[in-house]
Symmetry: C3
Subunit: 161 residues, 3 copies
Amino acid sequence: MAGEAPEGDTPRVSIIVSKGTLNMVFPPLILATTAASMGAEVTLYFTFWGIEALKKDGIKNLKVASVGNPALPMPNILGMLPGMTAIATRMMKGKVEEAGMGDPADLLDMCVEMDNVELVACTPTLGVMGIDEDDLIEGLTLAGAGYAMEQMFESDVQLFI
Amino acid sequence: MAGEAPEGDTPRVSIIVSKGTLNMVFPPLILATTAASMGAEVTLYFTFWGIEALKKDGIKNLKVASVGNPALPMPNILGMLPGMTAIATRMMKGKVEEAGMGDPADLLDMCVEMDNVELVACTPTLGVMGIDEDDLIEGLTLAGAGYAMEQMFESDVQLFI
Amino acid sequence: MAGEAPEGDTPRVSIIVSKGTLNMVFPPLILATTAASMGAEVTLYFTFWGIEALKKDGIKNLKVASVGNPALPMPNILGMLPGMTAIATRMMKGKVEEAGMGDPADLLDMCVEMDNVELVACTPTLGVMGIDEDDLIEGLTLAGAGYAMEQMFESDVQLFI
């Protein structure tokens, strides 16, 4: 079934991206590009470790968590070994490519280019992590929690990921 | 205080289930059965590792994450030892049973049987993970992110878990 | 940009706090105090490991997860060593203080004191974890999932964290 936005007002979607693992940055990018291609106005607010995805080349360096994830086919004791995070990450990227899903870096580029997607970097997070605006990709809004809340008040769908 | 849905239109609830650990599959099942018993229409969209819960006998094999969870009374170095995930899982299941809460497998069965709960398996996830429809329990809708988004546009409550 | 609530009815916000790590308790406290200071009515429903934050002195003892978090600048094999969770926690608290953000314990106090924030402890979680009402801070509502769902039905923004 092809997705379609409801008739009438343009729907608005606000998603908070709080985690810096490939497996938790991928879902908001899929949902944002899907919603935007259905005609919605989308705001992605990157905060805490989610900000990693907005660093220059950051999205390409995100990794899948190989421990603390019992659903991965790998016992914790193995997930601990140096290199296992890299293996889990390559495994996931390979499978995503095989299945013809978009690459996370391409999805982020789409978000930057789409007029109806706004990417926001959380300014207090930048301060806490000592990240400079120049370390980030272009085309971002810089704002704090008040702005995120405002967007959510005006949205039909709000998610924290 | 007994829960009651607001008067007027039937409320609609959409929950995305993205994780494959017992501790993160349990909350959406509790919320879904609670909302449905209050008269709401509920959609549970299983994606990424959440799909594990829809495999035949999958829900019985979910485990509690024993590492990366500082709130569990177990240091990381112990959580690493083979067998510790199983111990954390048994501990949680035992306590849940003691307290008279529903078993996750029973809650999933309830969701399948209730007319006002729809269980959806994310088709791209099935592709990425190489899972066949026959590997899954009966009574599921198969659909992609466009469908999930559509359900969320029409819902009063949307959660990503 | 200073945050402002939409004109007209008072907006309502419901947030479920399900995790017991400092990094996942901090965001709901920031969002709740931000929304409340913008005039919204806020309900925070603490469940599963989130209940740790409501124990007397619990908020001061929360820790940052040092494993299963590839975005932390620390390989898993080091995160495993005894003491590494404490180091990651001190590092985060230090940086938060440097940046002049509120301390999580202070934000929780603000929530208790604000008339438009309600803190709810999930009663089934208390049963499962064997926690007594006397173990918790003052000023809480005790209620179950039906109450949480009711609050969400009546809210404009619902988040699961």
